[in-house]
């Protein structure tokens, strides 16, 4: 934080303010106030999001005749209203877990490749191209997942069923492999890959040169250097990168909404069609929802907001506790 060493707030009460008088300070007060308001607006937005979601979801809680947390069905507009988030929570969790299992190792591998394995000149281009992956809109990933990826996943699903089918989650009793939680998870993995790799890369490049060279000078191979010098230093950063990726996976909407054949049931056979997530459920049911339906969707959105908030706060907390990641340049 050396770059922000204090500057005097207003010109010291000496000659200048004596000569110019109030006009100088008024401009300062106004501008300072404006920028302060802008800053506060951000805090305000965050708290207003929580406030309005709570307020507008209350009506649905009062009329719900089922347990909100343990019910799978979603019929808020029938009388009496019956709805709950069990299936949504299950689908959200499953897709995110699959995405994390696939994306975390690959993302960290990509980050390592770019920061310490690839040629220096090439790594800039490579970094740019993985960033491009982050620029592709969610809806395009959804369409791609449906039309391009699904046919290619058929074989893998079949293989899992044939050879690992004795483990219940890999079994597929329907013989259909499209529109499944598995495919949604794979697409999510691709979508959170840039988040994970960009953040880990940033941490990897901040490992002190001295640590790396000391390790190599002692005769370590490159991999041993990575394990001795880079990973210990970058561990908190890697963890928070993974968590930020998780946060993104939990909240992804349109791609999942396109891929899953939405059904609010809990099905452990994740290569079979079906499943639903918080975010996808909101997008899919929004336009046909009545007033209780809207309120119920807002309630599920509130749950999603709280979950992602917790994940993000923890991830950011880890980063900001290790101040060495923030300074550096």
């Amino acid at each position: 934080m050396s770059s922000t060493r204090e500057l005097p707030a207003t010109p010291a009460p000496t000659a200048s303010s004596g000569i110019k008088g109030k006009s100088v300070r008024r401009g300062d007060t106004v501008f300072r106030g404006l920028s302060r308001i802008a800053g506060i607006a951000i805090l305000l937005t965050m708290s207003l999001i929580a406030l309005f979601l709570v307020w507008r979801s209350i009506p649905s809680f009062t009329v719900n005749t089922a347990n909100f947390f343990t019910t799978s069905e979603w019929f808020p507009d029938q009388t009496p209203p019956v709805f709950g988030i069990a299936a949504l929570a299950f689908g959200t969790l499953m897709t995110s877990i699959i995405a994390m299992i696939l994306a975390v190792p690959v993302g960290i591998g990509v980050a390592l490749f770019i920061s310490h394995y690839a040629h220096r000149r090439m790594s800039a281009i490579l970094a740019f191209s993985t960033d491009l992956l982050a620029a592709v809109p969610s809806i395009i990933f959804g369409m791609w997942g449906l039309e391009f990826l699904t046919p290619h996943m058929q074989g893998l699903g079949q293989w899992l069923n044939d050879y690992l089918g004795f483990i219940p989650i890999f079994r597929n009793d329907l013989g259909q492999y499209s529109k499944s939680i598995f495919i949604a998870g794979v697409v999510l993995a691709i979508m959170i890959l840039p988040t994970i790799s960009a953040l880990s890369r940033e941490v990897f490049t901040q490992v002190p040169r001295g640590n790396i060279e000391a390790s190599l000078a002692l005769g370590a191979t490159r991999w041993e250097m990575v394990r001795q010098a880079i990973f210990p230093f970058a561990k908190p950063g890697m963890i928070s990168a993974a968590m930020l990726g998780l946060g993104r996976a939990l909240g992804e909407t349109i791609a999942v909404a396109l891929i899953l054949s939405a059904s609010n049931s809990i099905n452990w056979h994740f290569t079979e069609p079906g499943g639903n997530t918080f975010a996808a459920n909101i997008a899919l049911r929004w336009n046909e929802a009545g007033s209780t339906g809207l309120s119920a969707l807002i309630a599920s959105g509130l749950v999603l907001f709280i979950i992602t908030l917790v994940v993000n706060v923890v991830a950011r907390g880890i980063i900001s506790r290790h101040a060495e990641f923030r300074g550096g340049n």
Binding site: P11, R36, L193, N312, R316
Partner: protein
């Protein structure tokens, strides 16, 4: 020059080398193993059940890993074998990551390009049924440009001002707690799902304040989504402005706010514009908040404050979920248009960053 001692000498140097550096695989080792395993995989493809390009490639990679690690283990020892295995894994990870990028861009290009025509960009979907061909995305293009433009008009000033507060004013006493809270929640805000932001705009502005579902409501949601990116990049750029510049200006008796407006911000301008463009690129493809805050429309509506207004993402959503061949083709055309738009913004941001010599993205 063969003397009696030379043989002995050579042997001793090679022993010395072994002791110091260990025996290594020859330089051509990696290539040889790679070629061999490719060839072997091809043979397996022809002769046995191994089938398909992907399967053959997978087998080749497996053979390569086994062959190289095994050879390295016998010649170089365990440590180097592990090192080589790790290197292969890291390279593989990168290939795995690049494949979907190529596949996505390729699919969009192949499926989207045939739809492109002058008509596609100059007409709307009014009176075009999902089944019939023709129609276009002119209405959606207008909608996206207006909504994203409005969002930028709202989001950029607030974001830049907030960053100014964090960098220029916050370090002064008293406000430390406030500024660290702002800084923390800007980071957290990055992770709030876009669908939740859409819900917020719906509950706050549409349900509570009675704003109609319109392009403007969508802009508000997009503006909130842009904020954290703008604040972060601007903050970074402002911190790069040398302190000397600020001090020289202040020393000339120029008030603080004028220093910021005339010296600090212009110096960081390139970076700030880059950040703004990246944030615009980020929100231009957002679909979920638009679905919650606007009505789908097939007609041209250039007034974002009134009536249903289409946008590229909702156009794609609508056409894709209509499910006919013609509408899906239009959806891919829309997807390609959207990607091209985003790439232009990205490339523009990079060019500006380079021209103004800003260091980071």
């Amino acid at each position: 020059m063969a003397t009696v001692g030379s043989g002995k000498f050579e042997r001793s140097t090679s022993l010395l080398q072994d002791a110091l550096a260990g025996r290594r695989l020859p330089r051509w080792g990696v290539g040889a193993v790679g070629l061999t395993s490719l060839l072997a995989a091809y043979l397996l493809n022809v002769l046995t059940v191994v089938d398909g390009v992907a399967g053959t490639f997978l087998v080749a990679v497996l053979l390569f890993v086994i062959g190289q690690t095994g050879w390295s283990f016998t010649v170089e020892g365990r440590r180097h074998a592990v090192d080589r295995l790790a290197t292969t894994t890291v390279y593989a990870a990168f290939l795995i990551a690049v494949t979907p990028l190529v596949a996505v861009l390729g699919t969009v290009l192949v499926k989207g390009f045939p739809v492109f025509s002058a008509q596609f960009f100059t007409t709307s979907m009014r009176n075009v049924s999902p089944r019939s061909e023709g129609g276009g995305l002119y209405h959606a293009l207008i909608g996206t440009l207006e909504q994203v433009g409005l969002a930028a008009l709202i989001g950029v000033p607030i974001g830049v001002l907030a960053a100014v507060y964090l960098v220029e004013y916050a370090p002064e006493a008293k406000s430390r707690r406030l500024s660290s809270a702002i800084s923390f929640f800007v980071d957290v805000m990055t992770g709030v799902p876009s669908v939740v932001i859409g819900l917020f705009i719906y509950t706050a502005f549409i349900l509570t304040l009675g704003l109609p579902r319109s392009g403007f409501a969508a802009s508000l949601a997009l503006a909130i989504l842009m904020l954290p990116v703008i604040v972060r990049t601007t903050e970074e750029m402002l911190r790069l402005v040398p302190r000397d510049l600020r001090e020289s200006s202040l020393a000339l008796g120029i008030p603080r706010w004028k220093t910021i407006l005339k010296v600090v911000l212009p110096t960081a301008l390139g970076g700030i514009i880059t950040g703004a463009m990246l944030s615009i690129a980020r929100v231009a493809g957002e679909t979920a908040p638009l679905l919650l805050t606007t009505f789908l429309s097939q007609s041209i509506n250039s007034n974002p404050f009134k009536g249903p207004q289409a946008a590229l993402p909702t156009f794609i959503w609508d056409q894709f979920t209509s499910g006919t061949d013609a509408s899906r083709a239009r959806a891919w055309g829309g997807a390609l248009t959207l990607i091209v738009l985003i790439m232009i913004l990205y490339a523009g941001a990079k060019v500006i960053a380079r021209l103004t010599g800003a260091k980071k993205s």
